[in-house]
């Protein structure tokens, strides 16, 4: 009897111990511990990054207020330090300290940091809309409306993008950076094939024909007319550019022609096989840098990277001559309609210095900040002609007129609109995309999967 009891207890303990990892990790206590942990590592990263880049900022003196700013990729992001320098120069007595939370799972780490008590971030960078929605739902972000009203910030300068991230009449973030999708192309590939470069006004049919005309499927000397990164947004979001369809309304029939076009391209070797790209986790920059990709649709965030890597010689001759044009468009849609991704700043409800944090947010997201951001080759949320000029005038930016023209957008649609269920919807759309692209499902089956799945979520 006693032994049996012992055995049972032992079994219980064994299983409990074995599950401690996962059972515990789903509990809040652990989340807080993780947050505390994250804090230290993040602080260490900052220290390391600061040491690495030989940070010029003077250490915070006595009596200075230090604002903590949550960011990612300090070492490879060019505009953080200029922004901080400009702000600190205008606001003596305030120092900004960056904390790098890493880029891969930035939003998850940030959400964990802001969960529970003990967070002392004054400013949080918001990387994407699902992450923003999560934080708003958790109630950890400060509504900015009162501040905006108090300082009469003009929201119209953001071109309507702030309306798209307003939740229940309240705005919790201000954009300082706005990236949109363009079509990158490699001039050398077109020259070799004796084909004219893409233009700023192409329908999808023209785009498809152009991609096919430069494709070479001879083994050993493959040239791909197009390249689609494995993100669902690289394919699915062609469908929302006509402004008639939404990615969150639970009806995906409109995606069919685009999937048909891209699967046919994949079949004919016009673009690389999705399954291979997925299993090899090939980065889009690596794919483009190989010099055998004619056109690639990607966000404007790739511009500074490309310029930089060509300058440092990491990317060779084969991609040195590149250009960009506006996204292809459906028949009857204004050219320049494209997808946008915004990067924003928010103030956590737990921020120790909210008023000063607002000053920083106002500066970075305002016209002065926009100028600083544009000087680094990054596209700020406020795009004036001066900004476009600053970027297209940068060293390393393609010199043809079409490329400068490509920076002017007509209608921009958020990659993922604000929606309470956006992260669940995202999962389903990803899965549908994956199944269609790996040819695990037919297009119709995949679309039905997405429709049913999203509608089930919307019905909850």
């Amino acid at each position: 009897m006693k032994k049996r009891l012992l055995g049972l207890t032992l079994a219980c303990t064994m299983t409990a111990m074995s599950l401690a990892g996962c059972g515990g990790s789903s509990s809040g206590t652990d989340a807080t511990t993780a947050a505390a942990d994250g804090g230290t590592t993040a602080a260490q990263t900052t220290a390391a990054a600061a040491a690495g880049t030989g940070e010029t900022a003077a250490p915070a003196g006595e009596g200075d207020t230090v604002l903590k700013w949550a960011v990612w990729d300090i070492s490879s992001t060019v505009y953080y330090q200029p922004l901080i320098d400009a702000f600190e120069a205008a606001n003596p007595g305030v120092k900004i300290e960056m904390v790098d939370l890493g880029s891969a799972d930035y939003q998850t780490v940030l959400a964990t940091e802001l969960t529970g008590s003990g967070s002392d971030f004054d400013i949080a960078t918001i990387k994407d809309v699902p992450g923003y929605t999560t934080l708003v739902n958790k109630g950890v972000l400060e509504a900015l409306d009162d501040y905006i009203a108090k300082d009469s910030v003009d929201l119209s300068q953001y071109g309507g993008i702030t309306d798209q991230v307003t939740v229940d009449g309240k705005l919790y973030e201000l954009p300082f950076r706005s990236d949109f999708w363009v079509l990158f192309y490699n001039k050398k590939v077109f020259d070799n094939a004796n084909v004219a470069y893409p233009t700023n006004d192409m329908t999808f049919e023209q785009y498809d024909a152009l991609a096919r005309s430069v494709t070479n499927t001879t083994p050993g000397q493959e040239v791909y007319g197009a390249h689609y990164h494995t993100w669902r947004s690289a394919v699915q979001l062609f469908g929302i550019l006509d402004g008639k369809n939404s990615i969150v309304d639970g009806n995906y029939e409109f995606l069919k022609p685009y999937y048909e076009m891209i699967l046919a391209q994949q079949e004919d070797g016009v673009c690389q096989d999705y399954a291979t790209l997925k299993t090899s986790s090939l980065h889009y920059s690596g794919a483009f840098a190989q010099g055998n990709v004619a056109m690639m649709n990607m966000g404007s965030w790739f511009i500074p990277t490309l310029i930089e890597k060509i300058k440092t010689g990491e990317y060779g001759e084969e991609v040195a001559d590149w250009g960009l044009v506006k996204y292809p468009h459906a028949e009857g849609v204004e050219p320049g309609s494209t997808l946008a991704t915004i990067t924003c700043l928010s103030i956590p409800t737990s921020a120790p210095h909210k008023d000063l944090a607002w000053e920083f947010v106002k500066f970075v997201c305002g016209p002065d900040g926009a100028e600083v951001v544009a000087k680094t080759g990054t596209i700020p949320a406020i795009t004036t002609d001066a900004v476009v000029e600053a970027i297209s005038g940068m060293e390393g930016f393609p010199e043809d007129e079409a490329s400068a023209e490509a920076l002017k957008t007509a209608n921009t649609y958020l990659e993922m609109p604000v929606h309470a269920k956006s992260s669940e919807i995202e999962t389903i759309l990803n899965e549908g995309h994956d199944n269609i692209m790996t040819e695990g499902s037919t297009i119709d089956e995949g679309i039905a999967e997405m429709t049913d799945g999203v509608q089930a979520i919307l019905a909850q």
Binding site: C22, T108, K138, E424, N430
Partner: protein, 362 residues
């Protein structure tokens, strides 16, 4: 010394001592009486224990010490386990209990916890991704456990013979287990590249398989679990081989000798000597493997996660589902409920195994 003695003693009030003794002494004699009349060993042991406690109390009352000798011993013992136990409480026990409670609540980590009774569990069984992850986890276990057992046992038996370069081959077999998962998963995905030109697919193609029907391995929703199982077996068999090797070397060589004299062939030797003698090892390996299989996450994530680290229904496993619900969707209550389901499954499997092979458990 004198100071220590004083600190440990209080003023002995004879009246109080008398009162205490009047209570304790009858207890003692009653217990002693009972002990005389009991023959059952277990009961006697228990009575003796009680008598010792009462004797200790009497002594304490007489001397007026603050702590009895037994209490002091206990305190010392507790202080020895305290460092570990406090850590265990803070980092393991409390989170586990908290997760148990959360399983019946709704919580996003910030807003107030709301109790919802069994709704999390009901929701789980209505959730496609949960059902898929449950199915995949069970398939993974059922396929991986026996395959790993067979492979590691086979390897162990071969490498227990006197073959040339035995140590070299032992090291080679153990290597996948110590190699970094991230690195070997990348290599594996290259070998099992979904293209026709992938090394494995090339072999299949040359064996006459049609190019269209070549599997896409970890990118193929029908083949992904197979690829994962294959990978896990390959990665983990070295570790279990070492355990089996130890088991094999523990078998008395005389048994084989006797068997040979009786004219047994190799297969009979395996069946009547090796296998039964290895039962305790097999039992241990099976339990460890099953538990580890239920906990699988990293392998699936590395092989099938792609560039955004999201697992599809064709590859999702329970632990990943817990992670995505907890830290992507912030349904901490729901995630805890799924963790409970996982816990109960592992508990059930372990109990069945203990029951079935009780004789080896000790």
């Amino acid at each position: 010394m004198a100071f220590g003695k004083m600190a440990n003693q209080k003023n002995v009030d004879p009246e109080v001592v008398k009162e205490k003794l009047a209570k304790l002494e009858p207890q003692l004699s009653a217990l002693q009486e009972e002990l005389k009349n009991t023959s059952d060993k277990k009961k006697r042991d228990r009575l003796i224990g009680k008598i010792e406690t009462v004797q200790g109390k009497i002594k304490q009352a007489k001397t007026g010490e603050r702590f009895s000798r037994q209490a002091k011993r206990d305190l010392v013992a507790y202080s020895f386990i305290a460092p570990n136990f406090i850590g265990f409480c803070v980092f393991t026990l409390v989170p586990i209990i908290f997760a148990f409670i959360l399983a019946f609540a709704e919580w996003d980590g910030n807003n107030a916890i709301k109790f919802v009774a069994l709704r999390n569990f009901m929701e789980a069984f209505k959730n496609d991704r949960f059902i898929a992850s449950l199915k995949n986890t069970i398939i993974y276990c059922i396929a991986t456990v026996p395959l790993t057992l067979i492979c590691s046992l086979g390897l162990a038996i071969i490498l227990n013979q006197k073959v040339k370069g035995r140590n070299f081959f032992r090291t080679v077999s153990f290597f996948p287990y110590v190699a970094s998962l991230v690195a070997v998963a990348a290599v594996w995905n290259m070998l099992f590249s979904p293209q026709k030109s992938g090394p494995v697919n090339m072999i299949l193609y040359n064996l006459g398989m049609a190019a269209k029907s070549l599997p896409k391995w970890s990118a193929d929703k029908d083949w992904v679990m197979f690829t994962v199982v294959l990978f896990s077996v390959w990665k983990n068999m070295g570790y279990y081989m070492v355990i089996y090797l130890a088991g094999l070397q523990g078998i008395n060589a005389e048994l084989y000798e006797a068997c040979s004299l009786d004219g047994a062939n190799t297969w009979q030797k395996f069946l009547y000597i090796t296998w039964p003698q290895l039962q305790p090892t097999t039992f241990f390996v099976t339990i460890m493997l099953t538990i580890n299989c239920f906990k699988v996450y990293d392998i699936v994530y590395m092989l099938a996660g792609g560039s955004n680290g999201v697992l599809n229904k064709s590859a999702i496993v329970l632990v990943y589902h817990i992670y995505e619900e907890a830290f992507r969707n912030w349904n901490l209550g729901y995630a805890s409920a799924v963790a409970m389901v996982l816990f109960l499954m592992v508990l059930a499997v372990t109990l069945i195994q203990f029951r079935g092979e009780k004789k080896y458990a000790n």
